[in-house]
Assembly symmetry: C2
Homo-oligomer: 146 residues x 2
């Protein structure tokens, strides 16, 4: 496998509204996308754009607020009430080949690939197998970042 | 302030050697820089390059191993023995103006700007003031990422 683009850094927050205000007013983000629910994954999501080199699209900040009591973000916030860095998401050209790769390396893939926030298939790999980093692997969105 | 490029994601590790092997052999990183000590900050550092859009330089992964018992990374690893995401580093054009900005917003800047791993001045902002994210602000390296 070849390391792909760092598509986004997932950041959990107890309040998407306050987090959006923070990234807009304190960090100076120029482009903040419309928030939306991902009910199947128990999160409400908002992407903050960061500028890449030479006017390309940079790595996004994916703000994540829990949606419902069984949200995986709720468990994270119980340990980190203020929020914090939640996962790193890397792009791959072929999600099935990537799943096969990680499994063959003995890494615990968490469930089957499912539709992610960019409309492509994604899976997560257990942080204990990944140097403590919860890692999302996502198929590269068409036309994204280019 | 305008949000700058996400220069790197700091990832703490108990073993730089094992982390480098992981990023090379499992994640498939094509370019891994030579590790070096930053004795003043109590860390040994190794940068892993990730590809950006359109063949630009992407956001780096900054692997951090503690150097000495008083290393700030040692405290992080006591809580997270496997390692994990440690900080996000954003570029700014003017470090003094950025420090003034964050202080005027009531954010706790941790000490005076000092030379960072890219040879430019950097400072950190307290995670409790930043949505739980330890945030590094660094002056843009000349010619970097372009």
């Amino acid at each position: 496998m070849k390391l792909g683009r760092l598509n986004h850094v997932g950041v959990a927050t107890p309040s998407l509204e306050r987090a959006i205000a923070f990234w807009r007013d304190i960090m100076g983000a120029q482009i903040i996308r419309e928030p939306f629910d991902m009910a199947g994954q128990g999160v409400r999501v908002c992407f903050v754009e960061t500028p890449g080199a030479d006017s390309t699209a940079g790595t996004q900040i994916e703000l994540l607020e829990p949606l419902g009591e069984t949200s995986p973000i709720a468990a994270f916030l119980a340990k980190n009430p203020q929020g914090g860095q939640h996962h790193l998401a890397f792009e791959v050209p072929d999600i099935a080949a990537a799943k096969d790769w990680f499994e063959r390396q003995g890494k615990r893939v968490l469930g089957e690939p499912r539709l992610g926030a960019h409309g492509t298939l994604v899976f997560f790999v257990h942080p204990r197998d990944m140097g403590g980093v919860l890692t999302e692997i996502m198929e590269t969105p068409k036309g994204a970042g280019h």
